[in-house]
Symmetry: D3
Subunit: 236 residues, 6 copies
């Protein structure tokens, strides 16, 4: 089985890190490719960045379809371009935000999102509502750490995030923590040990979901909304 | 006061029609410019089209900001790029879908959306929920008429739409009808007369909303989420 | 175009102030009349007051209909008698609470309501829910200042309100502030400057909405619920 | 224990009928008074009627308070003036719409409302939402029978209502029926037998609720919103 | 009329206390039996306990049905086995959690739940949502006092609970308090006096509701979901 | 990795079938045990059956914990005892209803549930709401086929189910179908081919979810609600 993880920002370091995390949890028989666009925003930290990220995601899905990939992961917490990617793919497409939230609701009743910059909290809120997890998501916090600081995660970043996670558990009774950036993937295990509740990385979560769907033969429904759109020469 | 209407598809005929409708309801002292991108999708009929449309909207908002425009309208029923456009603009930005729905809730309790292709109903549903009108929107219907058929609206299209509107009033107790495509703007008055309830065109609705906001001095909040994003050379 | 603003309390000073604010934003070609009942409660600060206010609103709408007024504004933050007024009017009727909230949702994602006495917060909550803005309205605060103190707004009142607005922005991440009393209309511009986010006065907001609806030819749907009710000699 | 049922329309025949129904289910030790205003609308069939009805209700609650009544019932399905009545009363005040709905949710999972004129369905919908029963209320139907036809319920009215109830059970899987008019109270037992599911009359339901609250010593919370309002000479 | 209160834990002291409270508010003509299982959990403080409690409730409902009991109360705040009990009973079955919440919404707009251990708050949250009271329930608090400490309520427990109630009123603007354990029934009157708002004991509330339903002839709908299930020899 | 599937009814034939389906999608390195209780209801078709099923599930989870099992699946569409099982387990526990719904929301926007007897639809509705999928679940249908008919699925059952699935796709615009009984697992592939949209079997879905969670090291949060409960000798 071949799965492509699409990091929609241009950071090669982050893309490699995401690929490593995915491979660690993929289990036997799963081949993971981690890709990123050659041009576009270096980080996705605004709605404007999301628009560019969505376009990048679509180019990679088209390439993956041509190459016969079995499933796709959109490895950016805003799940940019998810609906459009489902139009272009025949196999399953999952975002890391939705993946992390789905898993969180099975690890307990409540979760809290801990993310990067406060200006992205609105997008996170939209996703929570779109996926149906308004009641489960008891709080969301920004750490103020920009995305690109996670190209190489520092002890300082770890300490900042850990403190916010502990606050969410204590003050909001969060049963688990959802990490709000693909770049935090390498901190997940240590954070979980420190905080004492499951800390959920969407990259790892997405691999379980997408490979499970491929194994059970469930792809994207091509009924109407997600059918392949009319091909337009000038779309992207 | 200067207001720019952005039609994110490349149809010049439709753009001109939208401009005429907007000027008819703009009142004295309002200068309307109707623009469209030179390249991009000819019609916005899928999530993939929406991604391209959002990028086109952002380019026009940036141009308008440079030119000192007071307010913007996104003249496509999916309101593509609305959040991102609000990051780039200082004045108000409104979409025609949200505009039509806001007005509908003041013209009665309930409304029905009558739109083009069935594959766009999911996006309409998302917008209804995002704007808070889940209870007011009692139904939504696709007529099966593609967007570009509205470059020159035909009697046949009128009859098809009128029949669906009448069904929504009779079967769903809709107090008003929200037209789900900017291209239907020239049919609005005749439909309203035929159906006997307010038929609401988002283009006309958006002009009232955006000019009212400019007059009262209310633009886009620059607090955090909608502050100007970090300028990235490669965004669009 | 003729628009009547109905202040349902008996304060002539407040009625005049509201009229002035409305005229400032009305644009050319709009004639504003600001009226209030001769008897009834001096201020609307309880559900009991609301019942009397609703009756006063209906008398003024009936008078306005006879005089051929094009649209109506109910200029009290509880929007008293709104449903009944829509039965009696053929043109549009908007309340200042709904108007302010509609505008707020286009100026940002979130808003906070800052109002007079705490006992009116329940009514505000009901309106937020009725209009569909439960997610957008992130908080609501009472200042403890009675309505009639706004007949002549003082510096002290301004400072009190400003402090509450600043708290809503800081603690609740409100993108804008909705003022919860028509009497605060003259403080709006200065508050907006002080607080740094849009501060929205329902009186000004309502003028944009109602004149926009008149210009586009959209009145109240007379389908069923809002059709003219059976005339009863003894109703009011 | 003394309980006052307030029929806010002026029909003496209907008031007497309501009183009889209430006494049948009141149990020992409960004294029921059924009152109606001397002037006002003969039937409550519009939002405009509701405004007048609310004023009538308040006058009767004030009279009852003076007379030392223990609890109040608002015996009109729109529950007009309920919030204001709670301000004026110290004991419990319940409406027949809320009473019927509360009981329905304990008699099964789902209920359907069967009422008089279609123009009142919007108000019923508002109450369902206000009381929290959006999921339990699976449908609502108008029979087209005006309120005053229930001064003396006919076989024809019974048959019409029974047919609608049967449709609600069959098509909407309603576990019970909530009757949408106090005037239907005398049909309740026969309808229940005919339809085969509990048919719930708000008058009977309200008596159980209000007497239960009096017996357990629970009145209206006087904390803030429902505290006695500032006395205004001109309120009603 | 005969009503059976089922305390699903094995504490005879608590069962007797509950029976006394119920009889105090039952009014003339109501015979109350308070029963508890001979074996099973001594207190219901976890989901695992709830499973055992549900089985105990069903055994008592079957016994009561055989004995011709008119109505049942499940006297444990988790309302364990409520749906299943409704399948087995023909008369009404009410839980004390739902009963307290129904009454609370008629005593004011908002309520707060004050209960025993924090691990039971999730179950309370589920019930609030199931019964439709998400908006009315403004907060819920655990006191940390285990259920069995209420076999004989102490002054210390009273003071702890009173302090939490006062906090809910002050910080959350709760119009009333819902007590989250049947064992608190004897503290209710003193708490209400101390806190100054209605404090609602589900045991007392349930008696009013179930006797009211019996008097009006409304039992459990036997339409489909709550019809008597297929008898299985090995069920319990 | 060892995963235990718990079929809470006593049908050995159905248990074996479920085990086979699970093994087909489990991927390398996963050892599946399918177990069922020796006594208890032969099928779970009522709330009363659910109570017994929950007790059976808990016994098997306790046994699995002792044996060091890594994760658990509750293989009955009502997800009986799920909250309690999470208290007793340290690894992940998933129900087949939640699993199927999670996967369905990633295969498209909307799904429809097709299940056995109509009396179980209320429970399905509760689960949809609990898991957050109220908007995604556009309809639910009962086929009228009892659970035990699926011990050996017949062509007639297949045709009945297929017809209902096709109706859900056509009439409700369901993007996928969720099968509402573990016993339908062997029909899934043929149904999907016939209906033309993804048909989702909760047994297969649960295997992907639970093994993914084990691989990423996420079990059940032991923070508070799902911590191991106080051991009571008499619980089960």
């Amino acid at each position: 089985m071949r799965v492509t993880l699409i990091n929609p920002n241009t950071s090669r370091a982050m893309t490699d890190k995401i690929g490593r995390s995915a491979r660690e949890v993929a289990g036997p028989g799963v081949e993971i490719a981690a890709v990123c666009p050659e041009f576009g925003p270096a980080a996705i930290e605004s709605h404007t960045d999301e628009v560019a990220a969505a376009a990048a995601v679509l180019r990679e899905v088209e390439a993956g379809q041509t190459a016969g990939v079995d499933g796709f992961v959109i490895a950016c917490f805003g799940d940019p371009g998810l609906d459009a990617a489902r139009e272009l793919a025949t196999g399953p497409v999952v975002g890391i935000a939705e993946s992390a939230m789905h898993v969180a609701t099975m690890a307990g009743r409540t979760f809290s999102i801990v993310t990067t910059l406060s200006r992205t909290l609105g997008r996170a809120h939209d996703l929570v509502r779109r996926y149906g997890f308004t009641e489960a998501c008891v709080s969301s916090y920004a750490t103020g750490i920009p995305v690109l600081d996670f190209e190489e995660s520092t002890t300082e970043a770890f300490e900042t995030i850990a403190a916010v996670c502990e606050r969410a558990v204590r003050a909001d009774a969060a049963d688990s923590i959802v990490l709000g950036c693909a770049g935090m993937t390498d901190l997940c295990a240590a954070l979980s040990e420190r905080v004492g509740v499951p800390v959920i990385d969407g990259v790892a979560a997405s691999v379980g979901l997408v490979t499970g769907m491929v194994r059970m033969g469930v792809g994207t429904s091509k009924r109407d909304e997600y059918a392949l759109p009319f091909a337009r020469a000038t779309v992207l």
